[in-house]
Amino acid sequence: MVPALLAESGVVSAHHPLGASTGYMSDLRGDWPAMVAEALATSPFAAELAALSESELPGLEAYLAAGPELPFGYLTVHAPVKHLRMPEAELVRRLSRLAPLVDGIVVHPDAMDDPRAYRALGSALVLENMDARKTTGRTVAELAPYFAVLPEAGFCLDVAHVLSIDATMETGERLLDAFAGRLRHLHVSSVDGRCRHVPLTVEHETRFAELLRRCPDVPWILEAPLP
C-alpha cells in the first residue's frame, strides 16, 4: 500500500544555512552570551537574537554595542512584540541603531501603530507573516498594504504561522508567489493549539515540505529546538 502523503523527515536538519532563534531559550533569558553560545551549537552560519519582550531590549542593545565577535554569516534581531510600553518613535529609533550591526530586524506587522515610522530601518526591516491569533498580517491581502508603504522591507515567512491559519499550506504558496523577491529567511517550527512554537513534528515537516522546497537559498531559523 502506498501512503497518500509520504513522510519527509530530515529536510529541515539538512538545510544550509540553518540557525536558531534565541526566542526559545527561556531558561537562559537575559544571558545573551549564553544564548548565543547555544545558538552556535545549532549553527555558526545564522541566528536570530530575539528580544520578544520590550524588557529584553536594553540587554540586547548593550550586548551588541559591546561589539562581540560573532561568526554568523546571517544575523537578525527580532524586535519586541510583547509588553510594549515605550513610544513607537523611540522603539524605531533604538531599532535603527541596531540595524547597522545585523542583517535584518524582524518586526510583526500587528505590532506597528504607524508602519511609515519604520521606514527609518530601510532595507534592514523584515516583516513576518502572523498567526491565527492575530487580525492582520496573515495573508497576502493583509501584508500587501504594509509592503506598499515600506517598499524596501524584506519578508520573513513563518511556516508555522501559515499552518495555524491554513492546514493546506496554500496560504504559504500565495505568500511566496506575492513576496518571493522579498524573502530573507524562514521561521521554522511546529505550533500547538495555542499557536505556541514547539519542536517540529514529522507530520508538520511533511506538510511544510513543498513550501520549504521553494526556499532553498535563504536561512531557516528554528523557533523551537529540533526534536
Binding site: 547597522p100 534592514a124 523577491g181 537559498d217
Partner: protein, 332 residues
C-alpha cells in the same frame, strides 16, 4: 540529448517573471548606446581584419549612466603594425574621454587574436592576456567589424574545445581557465588592497556582484554541457555565451527548477544595478575604504544584495542536477 535544447537563454530574464526594472532599463540603455556607437564609427576607416569591441557592462547589457567605456581594437591574426584606426583616433570617435578605459592597459588599444589563442597558460599568458581572453568570451560587444569579432571568438572557443574528447563532460581546459580567472580576480583584489585602499568600496561591491555574475554565467553553461555529446557542445556554448550573462543564469534557474531562488538572486542583482546607476550612492561606494565601509548604509545594502545573489547561485550549483558536476569538476 534533446533536453539540452531546453536551456534557451533567449528571453529568459523575462520568463523568470521577476521584477527587474533596473536590469531591463540597463538593457534598453545598452541597446541605444550600441546603436549610437555603431553610427559614430560607421565612416571610420577600419582594417578588414579588425573589430571595435566594448567590454564589461556593455557585454553584459548592463550599461549604467556612469559605466566605463572599456574598448579595444581586436585584430584577427598575429601582431602587426599599420592596423587602422590608430587607438587615439578610435578613442576620439568613441567620445567621452572621462569614461574611457582605466590605467591598467588591459583596454584602450589593440588586441591581437593570436595572442589570446596561442598564449593560454605558461608565463606568456599574463594577467592582461587572460583578462582580455575571458572578457572576449564572456562579456564582449562588437560595434564595428562584427564578423571579425565572431571569428576571433570562435577561434578561442575552438582552442578550448580542441582537446575535449569526452562526451557528456564539461570541457576541462576551458573550465580550468575560467576558474583560474575568477580566482585571479579574487587574489588580485587583495593585492590591490595591499597597495592602497583607493576605491576599495566600489571594487569590493563589484567583486561580490558583477564579477561574480560574470564568472557564474560562464561556469554554469560549461557545467551544463554534461548533457551533451561532443558534436553538440560547440553550438550549445556558442548560443549560451552569445546571450547576456543574466539571461544565461535566468535560463539555468528555470531549467533546474529553482525559479524562486532565481527571482531572489536576480532581484538582488537588479537592486545592485540601481545603486550603480545612482550618482550619489555610487559616489559613496567609490569614496569608501576598507576601514570606513562598515559605516556606510549604502555599502551595507549592497552587501545584503550581494549575499542574496550569492545564496541563489549556490543553490543553482549545489541544490540542483549540477551538484555532481560541480563535485567532479569544480574543485580538482
Amino acid at each position: 540529448m534533446a533536453t539540452a535544447n531546453t536551456i534557451d537563454p533567449a528571453g529568459a530574464l523575462e520568463r523568470l517573471g521577476a521584477e527587474l526594472p533596473n536590469l531591463l532599463a540597463a538593457r534598453a540603455r545598452t541597446a541605444e548606446a550600441v546603436a549610437a556607437r555603431r553610427a559614430a564609427l560607421a565612416d571610420l576607416p577600419l582594417d578588414p581584419r579588425a573589430s571595435v569591441v566594448l567590454f564589461g557592462s556593455w557585454g553584459r547589457r548592463e550599461l549604467t549612466r556612469r559605466s566605463d567605456d572599456d574598448w579595444a581594437l581586436l585584430v584577427d591574426g598575429a601582431a602587426r603594425d599599420g592596423v587602422e584606426p590608430e587607438p587615439e583616433v578610435l578613442a576620439a570617435a568613441l567620445g567621452d574621454g572621462s569614461r574611457g578605459p582605466g590605467r591598467s592597459g588591459v583596454f584602450g588599444g589593440r588586441i591581437f587574436g593570436d595572442d589570446l589563442l596561442s598564449r593560454i597558460g605558461l608565463d606568456a599568458d599574463s594577467n592582461t592576456n587572460l583578462t582580455r581572453r575571458m572578457l572576449l568570451m564572456l562579456e564582449s560587444q562588437p560595434v564595428a567589424g562584427d564578423d571579425v569579432h565572431r571569428r576571433c571568438w570562435e577561434q578561442v572557443l575552438d582552442g578550448y574545445l580542441e582537446d575535449a574528447d569526452r562526451p557528456y563532460r564539461p570541457p576541462r581546459f576551458f573550465l580550468n581557465d575560467l576558474i583560474r580567472y575568477w580566482r585571479t580576480i579574487c587574489v588580485d583584489f587583495v593585492g590591490k588592497e595591499r597597495e592602497g585602499s583607493e576605491k576599495w568600496g566600489i571594487r569590493n561591491a563589484k567583486l561580490r556582484t558583477s564579477r561574480k555574475v560574470l564568472f557564474a554565467a560562464g561556469l554554469v553553461p560549461l557545467l551544463q554541457t554534461h548533457r551533451l555529446d561532443r558534436e553538440e557542445r560547440r553550438a550549445y556554448l556558442a548560443a549560451q555565451l552569445a546571450a547576456p550573462a543574466t539571461d544565461r543564469l535566468a535560463a539555468a534557474f528555470l531549467d533546474c527548477g529553482v525559479r524562486d531562488a532565481g527571482v531572489r538572486a536576480l532581484g538582488a542583482y537588479d537592486r545592485w544595478l540601481a545603486v550603480l546607476d545612482d550618482p550619489d550612492r555610487r559616489g559613496e561606494l567609490e569614496s569608501l575604504t576598507k576601514e570606513t565601509a562598515h559605516e556606510s548604509a549604502v555599502f551595507r545594502d549592497v552587501r545584503r544584495h550581494a549575499t542574496e545573489l550569492h545564496r541563489g547561485l549556490l543553490v543553482l550549483l549545489f541544490d540542483t542536477e549540477l551538484l555532481p558536476h560541480v563535485r567532479e569538476h569544480g574543485i580538482f
